[in-house]
Subunit: 237 residues, 2 copies
Amino acid sequence: MHPRDKHTGGAGSTAESAAQPLRSDAERNRERIIAAARTVFGRDGLSASMASVAREAGVGIATMFRRFPTKEELVAAVFADRMDAYVRATAEALADPEPWSGFTGYIETVCAMQAADRGFADVLTMSLPGAEALEACRAEAYQGFLELIARAKDSGDLREDFTSRDLVLLLMANAGVLSATGEDAPDAWRRLVAWMIQSFRAPARGALPDPPEDAALYKAMRRASLGITSLETGKGR
Amino acid sequence: MHPRDKHTGGAGSTAESAAQPLRSDAERNRERIIAAARTVFGRDGLSASMASVAREAGVGIATMFRRFPTKEELVAAVFADRMDAYVRATAEALADPEPWSGFTGYIETVCAMQAADRGFADVLTMSLPGAEALEACRAEAYQGFLELIARAKDSGDLREDFTSRDLVLLLMANAGVLSATGEDAPDAWRRLVAWMIQSFRAPARGALPDPPEDAALYKAMRRASLGITSLETGKGR
DNA sequence: AGCAAACCGGAAAGCCCTATCCGATTCCCG
DNA sequence: CGGGAATCGGATAGGGCTTTCCGGTTTGCT
């Protein structure tokens, strides 16, 4: 009766906590893979290939897929701590006695996190259906952000027509600026964010087109999920 | 110069030097390729492969490369008329007696053009060193936009700290929103643009981080250009 | 040690892309 | 209407990426 049998079966792997301990060499490789993925995803975004991560890690391709059968599992493992920080940021923002500076500080923090890691910028603008832990964090942060919005509106600093979807819009816009400017203008995003934040401030300067529906945005994020295997084109009648 | 001849029938195509008329079947295929590219680039952006265009056009791959040895040449041929419209938009905006509405109308028009064609959205945010005609149009439109800015500042409607680089930033941000939302929230971009335009309006609501240097932005656009073979896409892309 | 399970990583299969080659086909003009 | 030249497009070479398979190696427990 070896406690170390075939394992797994059901338990996924995302939450390694309760899983069977890996053999020492396997665990070592796992760490190397995650470290390599952190580097590669941070530099190239989530579009980086699994093969390039394996190369960077110096392990065989098979080892890569054995440990992380899907890219989403790898992404979940790599960005778990970033997502924790993401959630923590809402708590910190809510701790700010000043509603408006809490609100703007949060937005700046999140956008800065995007700027610091191209992979994380991608994570924030696409849903990863296979990584429940990440999605749960996203939902939690979302709740916190709703609270930030409410506080900032109550204090009269935030425009009444601001909605949580506007943050998603900003994250997508920021991701666009970041991926376009890259290393060449690493602070360009700060200017975009500043423009937006000044516009969010009450009083309103005019009407705005309606924001997209929640469902539509969610759908968009899912569609974008992971160009895993063949971007999305595949057309060809 | 804008008089880019329509190359209908007789002579003159985009870059073919002395321009000897193509044989009828060659010309027919050329048109089919451009039409197909218009469709494919519009749907998938410039990251679409040459092969997929050839497939869509129903011609052999070799025919594709014979007519358009580089992707940039194809892009130039496909978006020549779009770029003309792009330049024309500045003239129309300058014709508006109201400086502010001319300014905002121009921005909205350009962003709408991005929304209408993912390929064009890419064209506007990356430089195509190999497509001189397009780059010339870009430069011409740029001059016109400088004029729009001057007028809007003179009338006191536009913030003094707005610079032409802010339009580039907005185009990149808009491209990000468009590629993230796609078909699922096709009007989301309008909200982003409205937020930004309201922020551009004088009086200023606060200081802004410095915009990126012109050289840095140009470098970024060049880097993004069209990396020989892959990278993004896939961006993604 | 000694051994079996767990693990490693190269190789291979399958798919898509770029770019070039070359025999077969089509066009155009005399 | 016939022939040479311009074109066509399948085929091929060369790379990447994903995913699976399998013989050889390492680990950990007895």
